[in-house]
């Protein structure tokens, strides 16, 4: 990643398509190598997570209507769908929710 003094013109960015990737990071225009797919063989931890994600992604069809309603009713104004909440709560729900115990 390289910091740039300014974001180049659009046609320059377009000309470097699939070679360089221009974007802003913390308000700073930067440039990096065009991201590539790492292929099938990934880090073992990533592959393990992929298997779990595949499992949880197949579960919505097994949920009852009440459960889907419960996920729908989660207060959210951040553009998350109920499936997003379901996956998030299943992976690391304890870290998603801040629990305030009784005084």
């Amino acid at each position: 990643m390289a910091k740039l003094s300014g974001m180049p013109a659009a046609h320059i960015i377009q000309s470097y398509k699939k070679i360089l990737d221009f974007y802003e990071w913390k308000g700073i225009p930067v440039c990096r190598r065009w991201p590539r797919s790492p292929g099938r063989l990934r880090n073992p931890a990533v592959m393990a997570t992929s298997a779990r994600f595949s499992y949880i992604s197949s579960q919505p069809k097994n949920l009852s209507t009440d459960l889907i309603t419960a996920y729908h009713d989660i207060p959210s104004n951040v553009g998350w769908t109920w499936k997003d909440f379901m996956v998030s709560f299943w992976f690391k729900g304890r870290k998603r929710v801040s629990l305030i115990p009784p005084e």
């Binding site: 097994n62 207060p75 992976f91 304890r94 629990l99 305030i100």
Partner: protein, 521 residues
């Protein structure tokens, strides 16, 4: 004599919150000496001291486990000694405590089904999971809210993942022991109209699971206030709703039936109706059960699909009838005209006492009265009572028939009590056998000696009528009652007399009906 000398051996047995200090006293200088350790830590940056110990012998090595340390910062530790000649501080040891070991994370679980029902004072929630786990519920009354975590870094806002915040009040463990697929939670609730929120957390195979359930909620509504429909004409068996329903008539009416008091929240029978006429509604109401409370609501529509217009404020009613006022007692005396009937043996006077010396000259009816010398027959007397003083539509609670009676059987034949007696009312259709001899004739002193006497003296009788005959007591008009036995049943109803008995009557012996009733409001 000199100052003591000590030596800091070191720190051992480190945990994330404790360490074992070890020091050694090398020389006490010939005086009584104390030994202790000094250290500092995270919470208090200045030096802390352990307890001091008198040195029993020289050399002497002391170990002490100090708790309350933190792994988040470095620590200093040194050994100190003292006697009257002065202090001695040995070398300082710097050490760090290890981070605490994170417990092994259990497998995640996913709630597949979850539903609850209200029980007596509790809410029973049943859930199933995809893996065997042990769950507990955190219950609170505050709605979980979302916290957008924003970090400002050099004036730039960085938005992190949203964080849900939940204030929970109490924890409920599942009813099942150990890991299971099905989970039962019995959650007590205290307040009506308050939404209780809860979520499920737990462990799988003894290890804390990272998963949580979505937020569930339940809310208990208060019991609806049971009101009386502004209606009229509602009885036990037949009712029709007037008033408000009539105002909205022609707009279509739905009746919803409510089966029990504790199901009124959402358990109603399927919608019946709409009823397009009063006749349709009346036919339906005839099927209602007087023991059941009902709920009806009105919607205004000419369309079959009436639900889309919404329901009006529902009303609740029972078919017990219109509201009545407080109970009042009415004394309905026999009125002027006495009815006579035909009969054979029994002599019953509902009207008055002294008829047997009347020199009777004639009658409106054939052969109903004998003359002065053959006065053994007066039977099937019928009397008209002034029940017109009772407001029409009153609810009758009790009726007592009070009269004076005498029995003659001079000519022989069947004795008193051989034949069942009847009370006959207005219609004279001879179908109401509501009294037996033992019920009507309360003559204990005579019954003890002559169970079936030929002759009885006058007795004042008070007969409580059965509620089944209350329907024959006419309110707002007069009621005719006669006492006959089974041989007096004739095809023709009794006719009119001219009321001459009343001219001999005394008020004290006059028959009357004591009616306790509630007038309609």
């Amino acid at each position: 004599m000199s100052k003591p000398r000590c030596y800091t051996v070191g720190v051992s047995e480190l945990t994330h919150s404790s360490a074992k200090f070890t020091g050694r006293l090398l020389n006490d200088g010939g005086l009584p000496t104390k030994l202790w350790f000094g250290y500092d830590g995270l919470t208090k940056s200045w030096h802390q001291k352990t307890p001091a110990w008198w040195v029993p012998e020289v050399p002497w090595e002391k170990s002490y486990v100090q708790y309350g340390l933190s792994y988040a910062t470095k620590h200093n530790m040194f050994c100190c000694s003292w006697n009257e000649d002065g202090f001695y501080y040995s070398g300082n040891h710097v050490f760090w405590l290890p981070r605490p070991l994170e417990p092994d994370e259990g497998s995640p679980f996913l709630i597949l089904t979850g539903s609850g029902v209200f029980d007596n004072g509790t809410y029973t929630f049943l859930a199933t999971t995809d893996v065997r786990c042990t769950l507990y519920a955190l219950v609170g009354t505050r709605k979980p809210y979302i916290n957008k975590k924003i970090q400002m870094d050099q004036g730039v806002a960085f938005r992190h993942d949203p964080e849900l915040v939940f204030n929970w009040k109490f924890k409920i463990l599942q009813q099942e022991e150990g890991d299971s697929i099905g989970h039962t939670f019995i959650i007590p609730w205290e307040y009506y109209n308050v939404t209780y929120w809860f979520l499920l957390m737990g462990s799988v195979d003894g290890k804390v699971s990272p998963s949580i359930s979505p937020f569930f909620k339940f809310r208990r509504l208060p019991l609806p206030q049971l009101t009386t429909v502004p209606a009229f004409g509602i009885t036990d068996t037949e009712a029709y709703i007037g008033g408000k329903l009539q105002q909205d008539w022609g707009q279509g009416v739905y009746l919803r039936l409510r089966w029990t008091r504790y199901d009124e929240y959402d358990n109603y029978s399927p919608v019946v109706g709409p009823f397009r006429s009063m006749w349709q509604l009346t036919e339906k109401i005839k099927e209602l059960d007087s023991e059941t409370q009902y709920k009806h609501a009105i919607i205004g529509s000419h369309d079959k699909d009436m639900v889309k217009y919404g329901w009006s404020q529902p009303l609740y009613f029972t078919t017990e009838g219109p509201p009545f006022g407080p109970e009042e007692t009415y004394i309905c005396y026999a009125s002027g005209n006495t009815y006579w009937g035909q009969g054979r043996n029994a002599l019953w006077s509902l009207a008055r006492q002294g008829f047997n010396y009347v020199n009777y000259k004639g009658s409106a009816l054939q052969a109903c009265i004998r003359d002065y010398y053959n006065q053994y027959m007066l039977f099937r007397a019928a009397v008209r009572f002034d029940t017109n003083i009772i407001p029409a539509g009153s609810k009758i609670n009790s009726v007592r028939l009070c009269f004076r009676s005498k029995y003659y059987n001079v000519g022989g034949g069947a004795k008193l009590g051989c034949h069942p007696l009847f009370l006959e009312f207005n219609d004279w259709d001879y179908t109401y056998s509501i009294a037996t001899f033992q019920q009507i004739v309360a003559l204990p002193h005579q019954l003890a000696e002559y169970y079936y006497p030929d002759y009885t003296e006058y007795e004042w009788l008070e007969l409580d009528l059965d509620p089944s005959v209350f329907q024959y007591i006419l309110t707002g008009e007069r009621t005719k009652i006669a006492i006959i036995d089974e041989r007096d049943r004739l095809d023709n109803p009794p006719g009119y007399g001219r009321g001459f008995w009343m001219s001999y009557g005394t008020v004290s012996f006059k028959a009357y009906l004591e009616v306790k009733s509630q007038p309609p409001l």
